[in-house]
Amino acid sequence: MVERQSPLEPVYHPGSHGNFEHGIDVILSETRPGSILQLAAWPGEEKRLMSGIYKVTGLALPDGAGGGVSNGAKSAFGFAPGKFTVVDEAEGLASAFTGVLTPSIGTLTDLSHGRTAIRIAGPKAEWVLAKFFAIDFALPAFPLGAGRSTNHHDIFAQIQRSSADQFDIYVFRSFARSFWKALCHASEEVGYEVQ
């Protein structure tokens, strides 16, 4: 398998940074999933697509806008009407949908090489993200597993809450380095560690 290069590599500096003397309040990392897919159902085919996602990944998507679920290795969430992002640590998830996601249900786009996955975790994760995105990051408004589509200036972002104080952000690979640098700057005040 070809070794995938990270767009963050020149600016990815593991260790503690910023104002960390009083503690590390966020941890930043690149999760580098092997598969990042977008699945879109034709109108009226959402339920069949969701059951196809369950068949392939074992992830049972909840009903409702932006509903999602994560089991650590695999994640899925709605990001638009009838559209879902499905992520797997392992490569090759797209081919697993062959025969399940038939042309009568919808379409699959493999974005594994087109998106970069950035994880922010820690007690100040909501605080730091609130500086970027004009959405409500509080747990009642943004429940566990749920996904949100939003943007920071022209950098489109899909965000999934993968645990109570952890978010996974999917950004265009071509903008990822710029976004990462901005995220590091925004995390300086709370003290951050890059893992």
């Binding site: 109108p43 806008a65 638009a80 004009a134 939003t150 943007n151 489109f156």
Partner: protein, 92 residues
């Protein structure tokens, strides 16, 4: 100004792109009715009050929406998916 996307919930206007007057009736592509085409391309109500509009949630779920906005107050009176829906009746 906040627009409540039927999928994403309330979002800042900066996430949306205005797609024009929602009152236009596009003639059939093969139509030779020049008056209908003229009306589609040029005629606008330009009301001082409630206005039917098409917006896209371009910085979010990217759905196209039918929005009724008051042009005097910027109050958003209703939002709905444009897909398959009929034109929202304006109050004025």
């Amino acid at each position: 100004m906040l627009i409540t996307c039927p999928y994403c919930g309330p979002r800042d206007v900066i996430e949306f792109t205005y797609q024009g007057d929602g009152n236009r009736e596009r003639p059939q592509p093969a139509s030779q009715d020049l008056d209908a085409w003229n009306a589609y391309v040029y005629d606008r109500l330009n009301p001082a009050g409630d206005h039917n509009e098409i917006w896209q949630h371009s910085g979010g779920c990217r759905a196209h929406l039918r929005v009724v906005r008051n042009t005097l107050t910027h109050e958003i009176l209703s939002t709905a998916f444009a897909r398959g829906g009929h034109k929202t009746e304006s109050r004025s």
